[in-house]
């Protein structure tokens, strides 16, 4: 099943890479340059004594943050909140911590591969990706920019939880009126749940009562 988001995403990788949300000024363009350019810039980085370790870590973090999510490619791993940390271990070795959105998310391995590739292309000599579970990922970890990008791609962003644990009512009742899930297309608040389970583990399938379009929503957790 191909979600609306995927078909309307255009060239998501470029879009995301062009606007790194973290580490202002970091040259995320390294990920999209030709091979020769990458090597040259990487060489500059390693020889430049003026480049502090912190700057280099921030630069590489921005590169990792800009890697698009394999299943929701409109959003980068940084904005999705799954990039937990990046450390320089010396001699060009980089350790990255990723956390899965869902325990069984099959995209984690693809994410790890993409992050490794992007960091190697950006000059890292060796990349180790670690999977961490604690603290558990929450939809509150999605940045404001990430929510904007999801909505722009026709995927309703999750409502804020404020770190309260998810409580699923024992008996289904009417959805909360104070925080309706709005249609990402027409903005109507009158939407209904079709299934709590959709194309990816982290999305639910809903339908708008006004424009009648079905849409995915990143479900709160």
């Amino acid at each position: 099943m191909v979600s609306e988001g995927r078909t309307t995403a255009g060239t998501p990788a470029d879009e995301v890479a062009g606007a790194p949300a973290e580490a202002p000024g970091a040259p995320a363009k390294l990920t999209e340059g030709a091979q020769g350019v990458q090597v040259t810039e990487a060489a500059q980085v390693t020889q430049g004594a003026q480049v502090t370790e912190a700057t280099e870590a921030a630069r590489l973090r921005a590169v990792a943050a800009a890697v698009p999510d394999p299943e929701l490619p409109v959003i980068g791993l940084g904005d999705l909140g799954v990039l937990r940390g990046l450390r320089l271990l010396g001699a060009g070795r980089v350790e990255v911590e990723l956390t899965p959105t869902y325990t069984g998310c099959p995209a984690v391995e693809a994410m790890a591969g993409e992050v490794r590739r992007a960091l190697l292309a950006a000059g890292a000599a060796e990349v180790e990706v670690r999977r961490v579970l604690a603290p558990p990922w929450s939809t509150d970890d999605i940045t404001a920019e990430g929510r904007r990008r999801l909505a722009a791609a026709g995927i309703a962003p999750p409502r804020p939880l404020g770190r309260a644990p998810v409580t699923v009512p024992l008996l289904p009742g009417p959805p909360g009126e104070e925080h309706p899930v709005r249609c990402p297309r027409c903005g109507a608040a009158d939407t209904e749940l079709i299934s709590r389970f959709s194309a990816t583990p982290c999305t639910a399938l809903r339908r708008c009562a006004r424009c009648a379009e079905p849409f995915d929503q990143v479900k709160e957790r």
């Binding site: 099943m1 899965p100 869902y102 325990t103 069984g104 998310c105 099959p106 579970l133 604690a134 603290p135 558990p136 990922w137 644990p165 998810v166 409580t167 699923v168 009512p169 024992l170 008996l171 289904p172 079709i194 299934s195 709590r196 389970f197 959709s198 194309a199 583990p201 399938l205 479900k219 957790r221």
Partner: protein, 268 residues
């Protein structure tokens, strides 16, 4: 209890942890290692994941197809995390023999009709939700996974509750079939609240009470009769955790393991 040692068929694989200690004792936290507990919980998740995956292509509606696959995927993620705490996840999943598996017998029961699958989901997800709640509140080796899996399991139970209500409080036929499923699987539920060897920090009495309360409330709301028969039939008590499984489990393993056993190390 009559738990056999696992030294028999399983030992040949070289990856079989020893029997899960005194799994059948009445101690609050029976003796055992963290690996014993990880294996038991991991096998629960793995086997139920496989059962749910068997619905692929057979679910009553497209949305349900996707829902069941999502549930299976969550459980597979749990299984991978847990089995990795014990050893090589692939060897544990694909190279052990039946008697070396430590899952409860409930999860290996065949899908049956859709009502049977939903009853199994209701019983198991309620148990798992309560277990994750307790483990997440502690600081043991399972706390990170419990905190992670808890919210997912809440969705699993919501799915099962929604269907139980719809089928139970539905047509005469759907109610009849849901009741039949609830009754048929009841005998496997006693095992859910028995202490798991090596799993510290769980109040099993509270878990059993919570389970009875939540499941009872759902069944009553669905106009179904809560079974009165003892949940713990003599022959099945504690069996799964000691490696004793029901007949359908062998066929499940045959299908789940045959590719890996026929083509060891195959990848794609």
């Amino acid at each position: 209890m009559n738990g056999p040692a696992t030294g028999g068929p399983g030992r040949a694989t070289g990856v079989v942890p020893e029997a899960a200690g005194a799994a059948g004792t009445t101690a609050g936290t029976a003796s055992g290692t963290t690996e014993d507990a990880a294996l038991a919980l991991g096998d629960d998740a793995l086997v139920l994941s496989h059962r749910l995956a068997e619905w692929a292509g057979h679910a009553p509606a497209l949305e349900e197809e996707v829902a069941l696959a999502n549930l299976a995927l969550d459980l597979l993620g749990q299984a991978r995390t847990l089995l990795t705490m014990v050893g090589d996840e692939d060897r544990l999943a694909f190279c052990r023999q039946e008697r070396a598996f430590r899952n409860v017998q409930l999860v290996e029961q065949p899908n049956g009709d859709f009502a049977h699958t939903i009853a199994r989901q209701l019983y198991f997800s309620t148990y798992q939700e309560l277990l994750w709640e307790q483990l997440a509140a502690g600081d043991g080796p399972f706390a990170p996974l419990a905190a992670k899996a808890g919210p997912e399991t809440a969705y699993h139970r919501d799915h099962a509750v929604t269907w139980t209500l719809r089928l139970g409080d539905g047509t005469r036929l759907s109610r009849e079939r849901m009741q039949r499923a609830v009754d048929a699987l009841w005998r496997y539920t006693g095992e859910l609240t028995r202490p798991v060897a090596g799993l510290a920090g769980v109040d099993w009495a509270a878990l059993a009470a919570g389970w009875a309360e939540r499941v009872g409330a759902t069944l009553r709301a669905a106009t179904l009769t809560v079974p009165e028969a003892p949940a713990r039939a003599v022959w099945s008590a504690g069996g799964g955790r000691q490696g004793i499984h029901t007949e359908p489990f062998g066929r499940l393993l045959a299908e789940m393991q045959h590719l890996h056993r026929s083509h060891p190390g195959a990848r794609w």
